[in-house]
Amino acid sequence: MSEAEQKTETPEANPARSGEMIRALVGVAAVSGILISVVFQWTLPAIKANRAEALQKAVFAVIPGVKTVVTFEVTQEGKLVALKEDKEAEEKMYAGYDQQGQLAGVALEAQGQGYQDVIKILYGYNPEKEHVVGINILDSKETPGLGDKIGKDPKFLANFEALDVRLKEDRSGAVHPLEVVKQGTKSKAWQIDSITGATISSKAVGKILNASVPQRLPVVQKNLDTLKEKP
């Protein structure tokens, strides 16, 4: 085939071939679409179960002694409404109940800027003692081996087993904002021992909690009666 001939082999010049092309592409696209929707429908229950399990695990990790988890929606008026299984809501909190059905704590999500990217954490809050009782890093891109210790270092995580976040009388904020201190110098219940080599990431966790505490904890305290009755 010479070059001149090849040039005439364009779709416009040959309507029969362009029809063939359209048929081929539409055919492949249709089959692809069907295949994807079949697989989506087929895997959806398993994926949902996986997600729910991952969330339960995360909540279990931040509140000691939890047996069941109920998701609550925070409405715009600041009220709490128990959420049906597969419903989504903009602002949520997770109430954990122990074996007797008593409220063991509330798990709240918070996020903020870390060293590399946004850090997402889930923290457990005990409304009776007004303590943070555990944290879990849901998502972070902190430097492997250094910053990512915030989710692994047992000494650092021990900071959050009984961290004082008592609210002021008027619930406008914490009595003592959290302070991140040098490793080994923690002396107050509202201080966090940082990790050597991961100072910025440690401070970021403190900052994220400090931003979340005055915003979310008053809602928990206001709605304590709703939370205490296990739906």
Binding site: R17, A24, V28, A29, I47, N50, A54, P144, G145, L146
Partner: protein, 210 residues
């Protein structure tokens, strides 16, 4: 179709083995560097990435090969991409049902399998010119070659950078991990090192043959 000329291979063991050694997509062709460097920071990630890519590679080879006579050559690339994207989406859903943790660790690199040049390359240079059986063998061979390469990188980087393999600590508490190895720069170090050794071995083998 007029453009059906080109090599046709019988389904032989050679087709399969070629992708593993002589035509290894990573170590010889240096294709698919993006996932190889990015997600080879642990053995599990590397292995899952390798398996997902092989899954897409074999299935897209089958489809491309079976409809190779029905699709006009002008739209073949568009068709390849569509087929590959479909199987990548399928692989994404399957991966989520198997493990959300691995899915999260692989992140953006799962959808990016769509533009993995190994898969498009095999579709264009092999599957679109050969019958189904050799195409399957070619896909499997190239896929296994890719798995070997990315797993080698992943295992080496995890051992050096975290002191563990598949999350199991290999050394005692005394071991100070060589953190740079699981950072992006470590990927380049390890890849360069492996390529150096391979080139050196090949050079020696050539010398001995003479």
């Amino acid at each position: 179709m007029q453009d059906m000329a080109g090599q046709t291979a019988a389904p032989t063991l050679e087709t399969f083995l070629e992708g593993i050694w002589k035509e290894n997509p990573v170590f010889i062709h240096l294709l698919g560097m993006c996932p190889v460097l990015a997600v080879s920071n642990s053995a599990v990630n590397a292995l899952s990435m390798g398996l997902a890519t092989t899954f897409v590679l074999v299935l897209s080879n089958i489809v491309v090969s079976s409809i190779r006579n029905l699709v006009p050559s002008q739209v073949r690339i568009a068709m390849f991409i569509m087929v590959i994207a479909t199987f990548v989406t399928v692989a994404e859903y399957l991966l989520q049902t198997i493990s959300l943790e691995i899915y999260a660790a692989l992140g953006a690199y799962v959808p990016l399998i769509v533009v993995n040049c190994i898969i498009l390359g095999r579709a264009e240079s092999f599957a679109s010119k050969n019958p189904i059986l050799p195409s399957i063998l070619d896909g499997l061979g190239t896929g296994v070659g890719f798995i070997i390469a990315i797993f080698m990188m992943g295992a080496l980087r995890e051992i050096l950078g975290s002191g563990s393999l598949f999350g199991v600590a290999l050394f005692g508490d005394q071991f100070e991990p060589w953190v740079v190895m699981i950072l992006p720069s470590g990927g380049f170090f390890v890849l360069g090192f492996i390529l150096l050794i391979l080139a050196w071995t090949q050079e020696r083998m050539k010398g001995e043959a003479k």
